[in-house]
């Protein structure tokens, strides 16, 4: 293990509950600077819950979360986000009553180190489809367009860690390709990523390390290659 100072996020012994149901059972997770982590598991195993817990959205939680050296175990979601975490949620989270342009610029900000490379123009270049729909409301977009918007919006906050929960859902193969390229580019620029995606092969190919969740517990983890090679993987993913 690398010394802890190199981790931008360290979470240990994370538990989470929805009401009385105990969903996460003591998960440890660490993300290094510029590292890409894959999070795998079947439907309903707790991937999104883990993410939402790290972000502070699940209030019934337990465990310790250190983000960029600060203890965010009990922090509120906006405080976590302000530290430099961007989130592309499953189901997109586009604001239906805001236009595409407004969705993009409403929360845009410079990175903590003053980065401003994901400008409005660059996002529109990356997703030309959005450019044609600038004045449409979020609710009027097609599913894929919403997904692009959600990713673009996240990029415009210039995070140090970006969390993508099923970010390629509903995107055309060519665009998916673009997204993976963007992820590579992000990684190259030193931004860490946490990826959940149904295309586990792609995830394992992109990620440095990977975790596999089963019923709220980490059942397999390690370098992406090792995980990919593990015979148990197929079992855990049900393939």
């Amino acid at each position: 293990m690398k010394p802890s100072s190199e981790f931008i996020l360290e979470a240990s012994c994370i538990h989470a509950w929805y009401g009385s149901s105990h969903v996460l059972h003591g998960i440890d997770l660490a993300i290094g600077r510029g590292e890409t982590i894959g999070l795998l598991g079947r439907n309903g195993m707790g991937k999104s819950t883990l993410i939402r817990t790290l972000l502070g959205h699940v209030t019934q939680r337990d465990g310790r979360i250190i983000l960029f050296g600060q203890d965010t175990s009990r922090a509120r979601p906006h405080e976590v986000a302000r530290l430099g975490v961007a989130y592309v949620p499953e189901g997109r989270g586009v604001f239906p009553n805001l236009s595409v342009r407004e969705n993009l610029i409403m929360a845009a900000r410079r990175g903590r180190d003053g980065r401003n490379d994901w400008s409005y123009e660059r996002v529109l270049e990356t997703f030309p489809r959005l450019k044609e729909r600038l004045s449409n409301l979020g609710a009027q977009l097609s599913g894929g367009e919403q997904q692009m918007l959600s990713i673009g919006r996240a990029l415009m906050t210039h995070p140090d860690l970006i969390i993508l929960d099923e970010a390629t859902e509903g995107l055309a193969p060519l665009i998916v390709l673009d997204i993976w390229n963007v992820i590579s580019a992000i990684r190259a620029s030193g931004i860490a990523t946490l990826i959940v995606d149904r295309d586990y092969r792609k995830v394992l190919a992109q990620a440095d390390r990977a975790l596999v969740l089963q019923k709220g517990q980490v059942v397999l983890q390690g370098n992406a290659d090792a995980v990919a090679a593990s015979p148990a993987l197929a079992d855990y993913l049900g393939v």
Binding site: N43, L141, G238
Partner: protein
């Protein structure tokens, strides 16, 4: 007629037919003159770039929104002016790209209510809905086909995203439609569920006409008999999977290196 004969028929029975469907959103031409036939016993995939108009097409075929022009024919009847519920009762089922479930009901009740559409009897106000065996068994059947057997009592709103996607399909099946319009049924599903869903589609294929909108090309090429490719509201190709795979135009516009 035996099922095997249906699939080998040279001119299969067309269950749903869309003719020259056009739809405008303000200045945007979301669909321009799209025609397609859905035959019993086949899976017809519609693929295309984001915003090509696939969901809009499903919305028009199912009666959710009216077309700007064009016509729809269902089971041999002209249904362009029909409402969505009326089309559904005739045998058309659809799923949504964005989850459209009853979050506060249990998973089972979600399915049961969908199944109830076939036997509505609203005037029988004194009989409990739970006493309608037809809808109960249809609901059980649909839920287990979609792999939700362990979650029947869970409020649907508390499901994970993938589980909701499964429920979405289950509700579509529960109405026992002859024509299925599935809008990205595999999106959000894990590898295991994807396999299950493909098996389910294969199982449903005989006797049903299925329109499949999907971005998962592996799945599409595995299961579809015919593929229509749309770009910016227009059909650029409609062919067998092999033909589509080798179509350079499609590769450039949509598939990339797939």
């Amino acid at each position: 007629m035996k099922p095997s004969e249906i699939s080998s028929d040279v001119s299969p029975e067309v269950l749903l037919r869309g003719r020259e469907i056009t739809r405008r959103w303000g200045g945007l031409l979301a669909l321009s003159g799209v025609s397609l036939d859905l035959a019993r016993g086949s899976v017809h995939a519609v693929i295309g770039t984001n915003g090509a108009g696939k969901s809009t097409l499903i919305n028009i075929l199912s009666g959710e929104i009216p077309p700007s022009s064009g016509s729809v024919e269902l089971l041999g009847q002209e249904v362009t002016g029909w409402t969505q519920p009326r089309r559904a009762r005739l045998g058309l089922g659809r799923s949504y790209q964005r989850n459209t479930i009853y979050p506060s009901f249990s998973v089972f009740e979600n399915c049961r209510l969908a199944a109830q559409a076939a036997t509505q009897r609203p005037w029988q106000w004194w009989r409990s809905a739970q006493h309608c065996d037809a809808s109960l068994s249809a609901a059980h059947d649909a839920a287990s086909r979609a792999g939700l057997n362990d979650l029947l009592d869970r409020p649907a709103g508390l499901l994970s995203h993938g589980q909701k996607r499964q429920l979405e399909i289950a509700m579509c099946l529960a109405t026992a439609p002859q024509v299925l319009l599935l809008d990205e049924p595999l999106a959000g599903m894990g590898a295991e569920e994807t396999e299950r869903m493909l098996a389910l589609l294969a199982e449903l294929k005989p006797g049903h006409a299925i329109l499949l909108v999907e971005h998962d090309m592996d799945a599409v090429f595995r299961i579809a008999e015919r593929i229509t490719v749309m770009v910016n509201g227009a059909v650029i190709a409609s062919d067998t999977p092999a033909g589509i795979r080798s179509n350079p135009q499609v590769q450039a516009a949509y598939l990339g290196d797939h």
